[in-house]
Amino acid sequence: MTNPILEMRNVHKNFGKTAALSNFSLALYPGEIHALVGENGAGKSTLIKSMTGIHQPSSGEIFVDGKKCTFRSTQESQAGGVAAIYQEPMVFPDLNIAENIFISHHDRPAFINWKQMYDEAEKLVARLGVNLDVHRAASSLTLAEQQTVEIARAISLDVRVLIMDEPSASLSNHEVERLFGIARSLRDQGVAVLYISHRLEEVFELSDKVTVMRDGEHISTKPTAEVTHDTLVAEMVGRDMQGRFARVPSVATGETMLSVKGLRKFGEFRDISFEVQKGEIVCFSGLVGAKRTDVALALFGIEPADEGQIEIDGKNVEIATPKDAIEMGIAYVSEDRRKLGIAMEESITANITLPMLARYANKMGLINTQLEHEDAQNYREKLNIKTNDLDGAVGTLSGGNQQKVMLAKWLNTNPTILIVDEPTRGIDVGAKAEVHQIIHDLAAAGVAILIISSDLPEVMSLADKIIVMREGHIAGIFAGEDASEEQVMRLAVGAKTQEEVA
């Protein structure tokens, strides 16, 4: 048997106290397409970043051709023969194809031999089996063509390990076929390809070997011929019972609060129909890119849908702006606290009262700060926000407390429909339990709750109803107590059951 080109041995990577990779070992062989699968948050990105020098492993070793290597930057990893391409290609739009390919060549003479550069670029593009004029500006290329340019850049550096991180996510079928062609021709030229994808069909069509990872750990590596959809899905989700939260009995009232019919946004999502009752907790499950957040943004008036009906409490409504949504009792707690959640320079009180300023103002538009402080004080006690100065900037608080301020801000709008996007991403188990308790309390108070979560155990413990989305449409709806993680994951990745395969 040949020796691996790249080998990781017992690699650990910690961020603070959380381990993103633990004791991870993986070997990539020449002339092989190796697929890597795992849930959101399984640690795939961390793995790639550790291989390409963006992150340095906390411990463990990486060998290239049997020699121990430490990559401190992507330049060093490329020099060592390892490169990655991503879903969103990174090209310079104003440079042409040839310039983009050779942008990473720092070892050339100071003056460019343009003719030689174009000749070499043409050879590289031809080697990938595609037909592209290397004089074209990158901005005129499709996403798929830009990816081709990135791949050409990688092989121009004599890369022997090419990592492809969900390269097919935004490509059409035809373009995916061409990408597969490129991957296969690279394999036949002796390159080791590490292919990461959420789509299991692709794994079966393309790969020679498949590795499953979960919670930062290596679960299995097997020849693709020896696995089935079922075994892969089971390995992706299979956890022991530790870390699960007990289910709380549903408090859904049977009265429909929110009803969505045939919601559609062109190029994003389609046929979105569902209902949420007062007191019901509905979870949107699915993989990154399933467009769950886009549905939420449509409901909240940030990016209104093109077609479809929204009914709140039996009344047909138009939601064109967040202001409309807030007035109708909808609150949306974003997953991106820093960018969309709270303004770091402004005070805790001001952040909490911002969506509801009119409540504190007199006819002249002047704010009653006394009233504001009372409400902020109230939330400080209720949510246990740790600060001694409600007039201090939010940016001075710890992450968990910032999260609570963001929650307080939306609870203060007295929502009847609460949409929470990834409520517990990146917070510890204790804080998670606190957040879950708040959600249960709100449901008990009759609030209709929509949760977008990629954390399957969380979905399993919270949801009265689970809506699984895949590639912009609803792939299935389960009652919370009936569903299993395997069923949900199978729908989310589009895996076929044994009978369907046969």
Binding site: A325, E327, G341, E346, L354, L357, G365, T369
Partner: protein, 337 residues
């Protein structure tokens, strides 16, 4: 414990940038009073204000523009164009009393033109107002060509030159009124709150139901209107207009605002800071003039101030570190409870 935290609450404002400016201003007053007996007289204080009154009026609205994370480079050109438009209308036979409101409307329209491109089309204000700075100045020069227009009615010149209430001329009263109004707007009103949030994080404001476009548009229209008023006051004070009225004022105005602790990245700053900064800049110039320091050195000192103003965030951090230890100690105690 209770008493101690009360004392800290009392002193906390003093460790802010505004506190530092106040300290600097007091030093300046003491120094100037010692070096010249004429410094601390009402007449001298009014005089030093009058010499730059149009700039400091515009600095009031520029404070809101920059808190909003925008910039308005066209203010001086709007001042110039407004003054010239007044002169041109007057020459065409329009009575001065009718020309004044017409020019103010023009100012709001010029600000609205900026607002359209910035708030609705979404072009960066730096680019839009750089373009209109040149365009509005060009229009001013076209209107009056290369002559001056003068001989305005006595009542009009009088508004700029004579005391209006007590010893204070009209422009100074306008200035202090605007400071008071915008102080209340920024600190107490819902609109002011929205200005801070849009400047601090536009998306957060949008997701919280704030009409970001309307906030930005309102500020730029107000900026046009107030600049135009300042242009008229300039015409009244000087008693004549030319194409180069207020040429280059925008940089002095922006310098004053930044020195006042308004972050160029938006979201922070106060009207008090701008007011203190104005007092410092004016008294510094005046004090140096009274002490017979030449204009070149005055400019040099203002240059040093500008560098200081750019370093405001760093200095702020330094001050907090230096004096804030006690307060964070208190915070630790709270955590332990």
């Amino acid at each position: 414990m209770e008493a101690q935290s009360n004392i800290q609450r009392l002193f906390k404002p003093l460790i802010s940038w505004e506190g530092f400016l106040l300290f600097a201003l007091i030093l300046l007053f003491i120094g100037n009073s010692i070096s010249s007996p004429f410094f601390l007289t009402v007449n001298n204080q009014i005089n030093l204000f009058q010499l730059s009154i149009e700039k400091v009026i515009v600095a009031v609205i520029m404070t809101l523009v920059i808190i909003n994370a925008e910039i308005d480079l066209s203010v001086a050109s709007i001042m110039g164009l407004s003054a010239c438009a007044f002169g041109w209308l007057f020459q065409m036979g329009v009575p001065a009393a009718a020309a004044v409101p017409m020019v103010l409307v023009l100012g709001a329209i010029l600000g609205g033109f900026n607002a359209f491109w910035i708030a609705w089309v979404g072009i960066p204000s730096l680019v839009v107002t750089l373009a209109t700075m040149i365009a509005f100045r060009g229009m001013a020069r076209v209107l009056v060509e290369d002559r001056g227009i003068t001989d305005f009615p006595d009542w009009f010149d009088g508004l700029g030159q004579n005391p209006f209430v007590g010893p204070f001329p009209l422009a100074m009263i306008v200035f202090f009124l605007l400071v008071a109004i915008f102080y209340v707007i920024l600190q107490k009103s819902t609109f002011g709150r929205q200005v801070y949030f849009v400047g601090s994080n536009r998306e957060v404001a949008e997701f919280s139901g704030v009409n970001v476009r309307r906030v930005k548009a309102t500020i730029f229209i107000a900026s046009g209107l107030i600049s135009s008023l300042a242009g008229l006051l300039f015409a009244a004070r000087v008693g004549a207009v030319r194409g180069d009225v207020a040429l280059g004022f925008e940089l002095d105005i922006i310098t004053i605002v930044l020195l006042g602790g308004v972050s160029i990245f938006g979201g922070t700053g106060t009207m008090i800071g701008t007011l203190l900064s104005i007092l410092i800049v004016l008294n510094l110039r005046n004090g140096m003039a009274l002490s017979n320091i030449t204009g070149h050195i005055q400019t040099g000192v203002l240059g040093v101030l500008l560098i200081l103003s750019v370093m405001v965030p760093t200095i702020k951090q330094f001050l907090t570190k230096l004096f804030g230890a006690k307060i964070s100690g208190e915070q630790k105690e709270l955590k332990n409870e």
